[in-house]
Each structure stands twice: as structure tokens, then as C-alpha cells.
């Protein structure tokens, strides 16, 4: 909860500019308000935060299926052709003894995207239902997903480098599968969804019920 004497900026008619952080007073009519310092549009809260976040999250969920079911990498070697999805690639690494690698890829490509989506879903639902439990912890969770978001790009880079380097004709070739495109899209969509979500909404609901 907010400490006893604190007032929220919104209740005082002030808002922090999202472009430069300047605290500006907002008149009642929203109209065209621009920050006097950086000319960015001023908003009390991120515009259409819930709608945009939900839309992006749904798209991410939809693409999560092809990302994990379709192969991300196709390896052709003297031993034959092998198609790997994200999960089968992790298992293959584990079985061939590279435990640390297997763990790193597993965390970056499976744990991180799922955790991000799960936490973001929980945050959205909690705001929608005007929940009041621990806004501070919820904000911490939001900061967590903001931080870990980019790390799911790891597998994309790995696959890129392998495909670019392993072009040894009949000896070995690596090609990227369509699953990688879906996975890349999931990473981008979840990063955008985290950006459109306004964590101040968590506190708005907590304040009303005080």
C-alpha cells in the first residue's frame, strides 16, 4: 500500500512524461497535450494499455504452439538428417553430455518465454479483477519480466550462427526451420506486450479500495 502521507501524482493532476520523465500538470481535457521539454504526447496512463497488452499476449500464445511444435533447426550430416524442435534440441544436448549448454538453452528458450507470459497474464488478470494483493510484489514481478525478456533471443542467435557457419556441403549443413520464425515472433510480441502494460494500473486499483 502507499505510505500514509503519500499522494499519487494522478490524484494531484500530474503525470510523468514517458519521453523524458518531466512531471507535468494535465488539464481536464485530454486533447493534444505535449510535454514542454521533449514534445512527447502526455498520457495519464499508457494509452489502451489493457487492450494492447491482451491483444499482443493472445498473439504470442497462438504463436507459441508452432514455435514449439515446428522444427527450429535441420541438421544434415553424414549420419543423416535430423530435425530439432526447441525441446528436442535441449534433450539432444543433454544426452550428448553438454549439461550446462542444455540448461542455458532450456532456460532461455523454454523457461523465460513461458514465465514471461504466465506472469504477464497474472498481472493483466489481477488488474482486470481489481485485485488488491501486494501491489509491491506485483510491480517487482513486472520489473522481473522486463529484465528477462530479451534473453529468449538467445536461441535465435545460436541458430543463426550455426546455419551461417555449418555450410560444409555434404559433410554437414544446418538450416533454420519455420519454428524459429514463430519463436522469434513470440519473443518480439512478449517484449512489446511488456512495454504496453502500464504497471501503474496495479496501484490504481489498490488505491481505490483504500
Amino acid at each position: 500500500m502507499l505510505p500514509a502521507r503519500a499522494e499519487s501524482a494522478a490524484s494531484l493532476g500530474l503525470t510523468a512524461c514517458h519521453g523524458c520523465g518531466l512531471l507535468v500538470g494535465l488539464p481536464e481535457s485530454p486533447a493534444t497535450n505535449t510535454c514542454p521539454r521533449c514534445a512527447a504526447h502526455l498520457h495519464m496512463r499508457k494509452p489502451d494499455s489493457m487492450q494492447r497488452t491482451c491483444a499482443l499476449m493472445i498473439a504470442a500464445y497462438v504463436l507459441l504452439l508452432p514455435a514449439n511444435l515446428l522444427p527450429v533447426m535441420e541438421t544434415q550430416s553424414l549420419l543423416g538428417t535430423r530435425q530439432d524442435t526447441i525441446v528436442s534440441g535441449v534433450i539432444h544436448l543433454w544426452q550428448s553430455g553438454s549439461w550446462p549448454l542444455s540448461f542455458v538453452v532450456f532456460v532461455a528458450s523454454v523457461v523465460v518465454p513461458l514465465t514471461k507470459l504466465a506472469i504477464l497474464t497474472m498481472l493483466v488478470v489481477s488488474v482486470q479483477r481489481r485485485a488488491t494483493w501486494s501491489p509491491r510484489d506485483r510491480t517487482r514481478l513486472y520489473r522481473l519480466i522486463e529484465f528477462i525478456g530479451r534473453w529468449s533471443m538467445l536461441d535465435i542467435y545460436v541458430v543463426t550462427l550455426l546455419a551461417a557457419l555449418v555450410r560444409l556441403q555434404s559433410l554437414a549443413t544446418v538450416k533454420i526451420g519455420t519454428g524459429a520464425i514463430a519463436f522469434g515472433a513470440v519473443v518480439i510480441l512478449t517484449m512489446l506486450a511488456t512495454r504496453t502494460f502500464d504497471p501503474r494500473l496495479i496501484w490504481d486499483r489498490a488505491e481505490i479500495s483504500r
Binding site: P36, R37, T160, L165
Partner: protein, 165 residues
Amino acid sequence: MRCNPDSRQRTLALTVTCAILFVLANIYPIVTLESQGLRLSCSLPEAVQVLWRSDMEFISVLVLTTALLVPGLEIGLILTVLLQRFPTPLLLRLIEVSRPWAMVDVFVLGLLVSIKKLSDMATIVPGPALWSFCALMVLTASVRATFQLRDFWRQTSVTYAARPS
């Protein structure tokens, strides 16, 4: 307040080094693969090209943007702002917007993972770009720590008369 010229000079030196490292990292090959007499090496732009030619345009653009364009843009913008007398608000905003999309640190980790994977099937010789990327990752973190956007925003306010809407 970090407006003193010493701090600015230090940040400027770091940023110039970053710029040099960035150029090196993209010109030279990252690693060289050797197997059965065949030898292949590639730099980041070359890897992006390979992807583009294999009809993987989306990923090609994604990797190009997050590992090359945006990091380069960020360095260029910071350099420009440091050399300006009064910082331009637009440039400061662009710096802020581009920060989350510059993923050099994730790229370096991806590099290391790929190298470990490749070393099982062939001999790997690290190239100059690999070290440049690692150094770039560390120095970019330094620059971000010393380049305080807030101070630069304050310097822009000096040049206009503040009026609430």
C-alpha cells in the same frame, strides 16, 4: 550532478572505444570453422546475408536489427549527444527508446553457446570479432552506467522557459 567536464570526457572516451569496437566486431569474422580440410568463417553481416538468402527474411532482419543496427545507433546517438553543446531532445528520446532493443549481451552468450556446440564437430578458431563483441558488451554496460540521461534532459531545459500546459 554529473555535469563536470571530467565525467563527460571519460564517457566520451568510453563511447569512442565502443564505436571502434563496434566497427571491428562487424568487419572481422567471428569464428573460423575447420573440418576435413574445409574452412569456413563468417562475420555478423555475412551471417545475416546467409539467412536472407535462405528465405529466412524475418529472422535475418530481427538479428540484423537487434545485434547490429540498434547497438550501432545507440553508440552513434550517445556520441552525438556528448559532442553537442545543448542536447537535442529528439536524440535523447531515441536513445531511451533504442535501449531495450540493443541485445549485444544476449548475442555474446549466443555466440559462446554456438561455439561450444560447434567445437564438438569441428575445430573452431575464434576470430577478432569475437573478442571485439565481448569487449563491446562490457564497455557498453560502462557507458550506460556513466551516461546519465536525466542530467542531459536537465541540460535541455536550460534552453527553454518551462511552462505547464
